[in-house]
Amino acid sequence: MTDFRIAEEPELLEGATAPIVATSKRMTRGQLVRRRFLRNRGAVIGLIIIGVLVFLALFGGYVLPWQYDQRDTTQYYKPPSAAHLFGTTQAGFDVLAMTVRGLGKSLIIGFMVALIQTTLAALIGSSAAYIGGWYEKAWLWVIDLMLVLPSFFLIAIVSKGGPKGQYAWLLLVVMLAAFGWQLSARVVRSLSMSVKEREYVAAARFMGLSTPRLLVRHIIPNIASMLIVDVCLGVGYAILGEAGLSYFGYGVQAPDTSLGTLISEGALSTTIAPWIFLAPASFLVLLVMAVNALGDGLRDALDPTSQSGGQA
């Protein structure tokens, strides 16, 4: 899969009467993936949107005219205007600055949860497939068990009873990841089943490679494309999950804010000041759409059997 031979467009030689010669050039896998990815317009737009949002979340404080904790004492409950692009709240805070701050927390939570849960899925799924026997049965059973439990309520219980304070959101990250890896682990397991039958895996084993090393060096890299897509789509799910919990007050706790807490606060005044709700809601939808489009684009670009159309 590493070296595709791509026939380039036949070049007409000077003189035009000479026979058409098809030159061929080797293309690395990286080039191929890049070309396939760039052809997908939705995915490229998604990537650009994510880039802009991450930039805003990181440097918004320097770029934007207002800070999230800065009151404009002349503007209370004002609709969007040139001075305040997304309007102001009852207390005179700039909605755009608040939204960008919430966006930052949502992005951090989304990426952390996605990375943790995909790592868990990769380790558990591939080791279950490779080791087999009781070990595999036990993990499959744990996966079934965790899917039976309604995760939303369990996370809410822990969030209600758990520790409060500045780092309480880290517990939320752990809980979201703990209930997010099961379906991916199943997919990883079934993919690893076919990888472990390959000769080079047997060769590595006969050379005396330890199981953890074999998993990390030889099996997991072979399902990397699935894992990359899984991280990407996981970000979207995690952000929606966090926002959903925050909507009921079981997610990020004050004084921290996320898109979810902003949406739930804004929902209280949709009739008088819809912009307070619409700004974080549209950021959330835009972000999740961008992440999903990027994930789909990556899947098409990375999947060797993909029928993404066109050449290569």
Partner: protein
């Protein structure tokens, strides 16, 4: 077949028992109903607080194992899921709320399924045409929009329309009006429909988004398969090849998905319930947590788990009957 199903069900029963026990441990350790009484003013006598908590089997001064045995005994011997610290019966409350959720969710679920499957199959046939691209873009937007955003926006639009027409065309507070109804015939039915339009719309959009994506992918696979090409090559009309050969195959996984979801109708749609003030199962789960009602949230978890497993069994049966490739022996 029967043996296979029985084994499956036995496995699920064990699974559910352990899952609910874990939820019970989590709720007992994380929730603190004593706090409910500590904030009362004037303060309540600690002895009577202890008695109330013991009566509900949620006192943290009783050893955990004793509480667990009492809880299990109540369920096995009397089908008693316990009571709230205030004295209300959990089983009764759930028995009532199940039907509220069912009434809320059913119409939206059916509409979402039918429209979703139709849209998915239709756009697959018209892949890469304008209509496909427009529908796919809308579906991508819907997939990324959580139901509380859809719900709030639908309420905002409905409020504008209500103002425009000058009377309350759309109602969005609960299942039905509480006051006296106007005297025209079928007033009660009309009132219920006015309340149901918006939540049904939200649930339909939610359902069709996921399902049309799934169905489009399945249908594309089926359309590209050899047996559909063979059917066309043998001279079958395109319409017939699509409907009878491709769609029929592509509907099998959707059927299992449908069966799987059927049981979850009773669990409800928490966000939609909250936005439109329905007091169904989803909101009960949220309320029990905020009111430190341990027995309540455990019962909700058990019921949710049961619905999930009933759905899984229904899906197993569907697969076994519909898909000739599944061999059970």
């Amino acid at each position: 077949m029967a043996r296979y199903l029985l084994l499956r069900i036995a496995n699920y029963v064990v699974l559910l028992f352990i899952a609910v026990s874990l939820a019970w441990v989590l709720a007992q350790t994380q929730l603190h109903p004593r706090q409910l009484f500590e904030i009362r003013n004037p303060p309540i006598d600690p002895v009577s607080v202890e008695n109330i908590l013991r009566a509900a089997n949620v006192s943290d001064q009783v050893p955990m194992w004793d509480r667990y045995v009492t809880w299990i005994k109540g369920i096995v011997l009397h089908w008693d899921w316990g009571s709230t610290p205030g004295g209300g019966d959990v089983g009764e409350e759930i028995g009532r709320r199940i039907w509220v959720s069912f009434r809320l969710v059913t119409a939206g679920w059916l509409l979402g399924t039918v429209i979703g499957v139709t849209l998915g199959a239709w756009t697959a046939v018209r892949q890469y045409r304008i209509s496909d691209r427009v529908v796919t873009a809308i579906v991508l937007l819907l997939v990324a929009t959580p139901s509380y955003v859809t719900g709030e926006i639908s309420k905002m639009i409905a409020t504008t329309i209500n103002k425009g027409v000058g009377f309350q065309l759309f109602l969005f507070l609960g299942e039905k009006s509480t006051g006296t109804l106007p005297g025209y015939p079928l007033a009660e039915l009309v009132d219920r429909v006015q309340h149901m339009v918006l939540p049904t719309l939200v649930l339909t959009l939610l359902g069709l988004a996921g399902l049309s994506r799934l169905q489009r992918g399945l249908m594309l696979d089926a359309l590209g398969s050899d047996f559909v090409r063979t059917a066309r090559a043998k001279g079958l009309r395109e319409n017939k090849a699509v409907m009878k050969h491709a769609l029929r195959t592509a509907l099998i996984p959707t059927g299992t998905y449908f069966a799987f979801q059927a049981a979850s109708l009773f669990v409800g749609a928490t966000y939609t319930e909250r936005i439109f003030s329905f007091h169904g199962m989803g909101m009960y789960g949220v309320d029990t947590i905020s009111k430190q009602n341990i027995n309540g949230i455990v019962a909700v978890t058990a019921f949710g788990g049961l619905c999930y497993l009933v759905g899984a069994i229904l899906a197993d049966i569907m697969v076994a009957f519909l898909d000739p490739r599944v061999r059970l022996s």
